[in-house]
């Protein structure tokens, strides 16, 4: 008999009582739902993120590359890691041509260039799938085009998020997007630059992940 069978046998040997009532999270969240406009959600999201030391720029969805170039120049960032197979990745590459900022493509497996990613790349650009207003959180679903380490290893992380895709809560996000129907290899919630308070409860940023998190919140021009 295997360890598995012995453990399960011990658990099933316990006289089963009637299971306690099934939890109903939808009721709890419905009871606390806010009557909030899309703009209200966007403002709440931006305020929460800024409160957690992220930079948030509300930009025209047709003009974000210009803002990106401006911020990169202001931060004296010399190269940017992009996902070349995505629309935003190629838009950034085109928009940054002749800007003196080199666009690096995450176009091969990590094993082929790990030291370069760790030591050379200064910033990265990814999209967020959606966002969460309550906690000021970005939702990322990395994939073959936009790999997991893009949002983790470079010291500065730029994220594009559509203001139309902001949910009130995490619960709303995974219900509205029907996550349970098919999870990706890795899904991420990101709510601030990397941080720690492990030394004498003193908050310090840039622990192991990005030291700076820059959010470009895409909106329709007024």
């Amino acid at each position: 008999m295997s360890a598995r069978d012995r453990i399960l046998q011990r658990l099933t040997a316990v006289q089963a009582k009637e299971p306690s009532p099934a939890p109903e999270p939808e009721h709890w969240y419905a009871s606390r739902a806010r009557n909030e406009s899309a703009d209200g959600r966007a403002r709440r999201f931006a305020a929460m993120m800024e409160g957690a030391r992220a930079e948030v720029h509300r930009v025209d969805r047709h003009n974000w590359v210009e803002k990106l170039r401006e911020i990169l120049a202001a931060k004296s960032i010399g190269n940017l890691l992009i996902a070349p197979d995505t629309a935003h990745g190629s838009a950034a590459r085109d928009g940054l041509a002749n800007s003196g900022i080199a666009c690096l493509a995450y176009d091969r497996p990590i094993e082929a260039w790990k030291p370069e990613l760790f030591h050379h790349v200064q910033a990265s650009l990814t999209a967020a799938r959606s966002a969460i207003a309550e906690t000021g959180t970005l939702v990322l679903w990395p994939d073959a085009h936009e790999p997991r380490l893009m949002s983790l290893v470079p010291p500065v992380h730029f994220v594009l998020v559509d203001a139309a895709h902001i949910h009130a809560t995490f619960f709303d996000a995974l219900r509205a997007e029907n996550w349970a129907a098919g999870m990706p290899t890795n899904a991420l919630l990101i709510s601030s630059p990397s941080k720690t308070a492990d030394i004498q409860q003193t908050l310090a940023y840039g622990a192991h992940g990005p030291k700076e998190l820059v959010v470009l919140l895409l909106e329709d021009a007024p």
Binding site: L11, P147, R148, T185, L189, I190, K195, A207
Partner: protein
């Protein structure tokens, strides 16, 4: 009162260790400060008492309901993980868990491991087993890294290095990391850690992590963290091994948001942590990073014992936020190391007896004033004080042959039991009590000056020469 010396249970150093901390003014001040800080941060996250009560009722329901279906959910979790390509292992004991993980290392020829923070890996003392097997296991959580350099164990489950000051850490870094000069600047210290550990991530061939929630319906492992070391450990090396206790499974994905909210707000007073890392698969064809193999080790190590008892099962509802220790007056005075167990504080007092047996932990259920603060703040409503009383009863009751708890009766003393029975009889019968108190006041010169545990820090109890009832009679 009896001249017979009272019999006390050896506590394998618990009292001595506690005493040493209590007498250390510096540690007293730093624990008090840290706990006040964490309590204030948590309180700020729950300004609305009604919201907290209703949310924790939901959290409690989710955990209870999942535990009531535990065997079914574990098999569902396993089936879905396997369908997703994640390999599942089961371990009854710490030794077995270590063997499983080291066998995975050996299969891949992995000698360099990076570890995300995992209390279960502390519970199985994995680092010792790894060292013996020639595997370098590096702790990458900043707090855990500091402790590994210092050769110490965590004193708190969330803030492992809470007992250390920045000056101590500055000295430690200067001493242990080549080329590092003494600095008390916290940002600089963190950047030193970042630099050293980035190299470790780059070179590692295997990563180990814990699990905060394992979702049965989708076969998903969720990890909560702030630093990014957990994500690095589970993404950079070509193999990822996660280890968790069998109780961590929950049924549905939609059960995650309320528990996540309760966890981060209770633990560090954050509305959410920096990262919530949700893993459902190893690297798929075409994907450019992530581990090619993901393993999950499910550990029992005594958890099936409280599961079998309806009252004690509530112990397993725990989501490991540490709020009970932050609010515990005993923990605040003696710190995490005094307990001598992986999990300190109130949760440690109720879980350790199942992991280690009551013989080794007899003193722990009594290391509480039963003030109730732990139960009041528990985000999943575990009645910790009730469970402490239950475990005390199990420790001090007469050993019975078919005891359900390992080590039941470990603190039983026939003498002590006889004395308390006699006292109960006297106190419960007015006539007997009158005779007793008359004798006690006349023979008070017979009371011993040393009264076992009582007089170690207090003056002896001596009956008054005249009883209250006699004094009142005179006044009338």
């Amino acid at each position: 009162m009896s001249r017979q010396p009272l019999h006390y249970i050896p506590t394998t150093g618990f009292r001595e260790r506690s005493k040493a901390v209590v007498e250390d003014d510096f540690l007293q001040k730093s624990f008090r400060g840290a706990m006040d800080f964490l309590m204030a941060k948590r309180a700020a996250q729950f300004p609305d008492g009604n919201e907290f009560e209703s949310l924790r009722r939901l959290g409690e329901q989710i955990r209870r309901n999942s535990l009531d279906k535990l065997p079914a959910l574990l098999t569902q979790l396993e089936a879905n993980l396997v369908r997703n390509g994640i390999q599942v292992h089961w371990a009854e004991t710490p030794e077995e868990a270590n063997r499983i993980i080291l066998a995975i290392c050996e299969k891949h020829g992995a000698k360099r491991m990076v570890k995300g923070k995992s209390m279960v890996s502390e519970e199985i003392e994995f680092n010792h087993a790894a060292e013996a097997a020639g595997v370098e296991a590096i702790e990458t959580d900043m707090g855990e890294y500091i402790l590994q350099l210092a050769g110490e164990k965590p004193s708190h489950i969330i803030m492992p290095a809470i007992h250390k000051t920045k000056a101590q850490i500055a000295r430690l870094f200067e001493e242990k990391i080549p080329g590092v000069a003494y600095t008390e600047d916290v940002d600089a210290l963190i950047q030193i850690g970042r630099r050293v550990l980035r190299q470790k991530f780059l070179e590692a061939d295997i990563g180990l992590s814990g699990v905060n929630f394992a979702v049965a319906e989708t076969g998903t492992l969720c990890l909560v963290e702030n630093e990014g070391n957990g994500r690095l450990s589970t993404t950079v090396p070509k193999v990822h091994v996660a280890i968790t206790g069998i109780e961590k499974v929950i049924e549905k994905l939609e059960h995650v948001p309320p528990l996540l909210s309760l966890l981060t707000r209770s633990a560090t007073g954050q509305n959410i942590t920096t990262y919530f890392n949700i893993i459902s698969r190893p690297r798929q064809p075409g994907e450019k990073d992530g581990p090619e193999e993901v393993h999950l080790v499910l550990l029992d190590n005594g958890r099936t014992q409280p599961f079998a008892d309806e009252e004690l099962r509530q112990t397993l509802q725990c989501i490991r936020c540490g709020a009970c220790m932050n609010h515990c007056p005993v923990y605040t005075h003696i710190g995490g190391h005094a307990y001598g167990t992986t999990y300190p504080g109130p949760i440690g007092e109720i879980i350790s007896p199942h992991l280690l047996g009551l013989e080794a932990t007899a003193a722990l259920p009594s290391a509480s004033s039963l003030c109730g603060a732990c139960g009041d703040v528990c985000p999943v409503n575990i009645p910790i004080p009730d469970l402490l009383v239950r475990l005390r009863t199990e420790v001090y009751s007469e050993p019975c042959p078919d005891a359900r708890l390992k080590g039941q009766g470990a603190g039983y003393s026939p003498w002590m039991t006889a004395i308390w029975r006699a006292w109960a009889a006297i106190y419960g019968h007015p006539a007997l009590y009158r005779v007793y108190s008359w004798l006690a006041s006349r023979l008070n010169w017979l009371t011993p000056a040393r009264q076992a545990g009582w007089t170690s820090v207090r003056t002896p109890l001596t009956p008054a020469p005249r009883r209250l009832r006699d004094l009142l009679k005179e006044k009338r």
